[in-house]
């Protein structure tokens, strides 16, 4: 079980390699890396600050990981999410899974992202030339999470 919440950047290659380090039974790893975009809702985004609820964040991510492990045969799971002020192009988060088979790896990775989007207590605040604004939750994120029920 690996859940990390940190301000520092990370190396996706290192995170991906950690999913199968020291083992020979892994058939494949599937990873997702979230990045800060420079445009959102038609407006230019110059920076983004991620706030979270320390304690609850880790607890929620661990529960999401446990749920994924109960649904798919996963050998390793890593979820790393940053907080603090980030610039366009910066990495926000890493989500990776290792499994004997690709089907479980792809599905579990998508599931983790969909549930994280709706259950992990993070909030984004964007800086734009017109001022700052809190990012609003999207209905399609709820729909994406609901498809796994």
């Amino acid at each position: 079980m690996t859940v990390l919440v940190q301000e520092a950047d990370f190396d996706p290659g290192v995170e991906m390699a950690a999913l199968s380090a020291g083992r020979t039974d892994v058939g494949g790893v599937a990873c997702f890396v979230g990045l800060v975009r420079d445009i959102a809702g038609g407006a230019t985004v110059t920076a983004m600050t991620l706030e979270h609820y320390p304690g609850m964040t880790e607890r929620q991510l661990e529960e999401i990981e446990a749920e994924a492990r109960s649904r798919w045969p996963l050998q390793e799971v890593r979820i790393l999410h940053r907080h603090g002020r980030l610039l366009p192009g910066d990495r926000i988060m890493f989500c990776g899974v290792a499994s004997a088979h690709r089907g479980a790896a792809f599905e579990a990775c998508a599931f983790l992202m969909d549930w994280l989007k709706t259950k992990a207590p993070f909030w984004k605040r964007e800086e734009t030339p017109e001022g700052e604004r809190w990012v609003e939750a999207k209905a399609e994120d709820d729909d994406a999470a609901a498809r796994w029920r």
């Binding site: 979230g34 991620l50 706030e51 979270h52 609820y53 304690g55 609850m56 607890r59 929620q60 999410h81 926000i92 988060m93 992202m113 994280l116 989007k117 709706t118 259950k119 992990a120 207590p121 993070f122 909030w123 984004k124 605040r125 809190w134 990012v135 609003e136 939750a137």
Partner: protein, 83 residues
């Protein structure tokens, strides 16, 4: 009871958290939200639309009918936007 506010709930109320002692008649999440709304214009503004306020009790998502106690840590925040 320890209250923690995040994102725009925090900006509107004007602080990151506080310790409160609601009257005994406040027994569940819905009751707490109603009681908080009466504490000032910032609270009333932050909690005006309960549909966009999420509540956690002891770091787990809670529903309006869930009971609360003075020993609880309660979080109030908007729908999450991580990932």
């Amino acid at each position: 009871m320890k209250l923690l506010y995040f994102a725009w709930v925090r900006s509107k109320i004007g602080m990151a958290g506080e310790t409160v002692s609601p009257p005994e008649t406040v027994r569940d999440v819905a009751g707490l939200l109603d009681w908080l709304k009466g504490r000032g214009p910032g609270y009333a503004d932050a909690l005006a639309n309960p549909a966009v306020v999420r509540v956690s009790v002891n770091q787990r998502f809670a529903r309006l009918a869930d009971p609360i106690a003075l020993s609880d840590e309660i979080g109030l925040f908007p729908p999450v936007t991580g990932g």
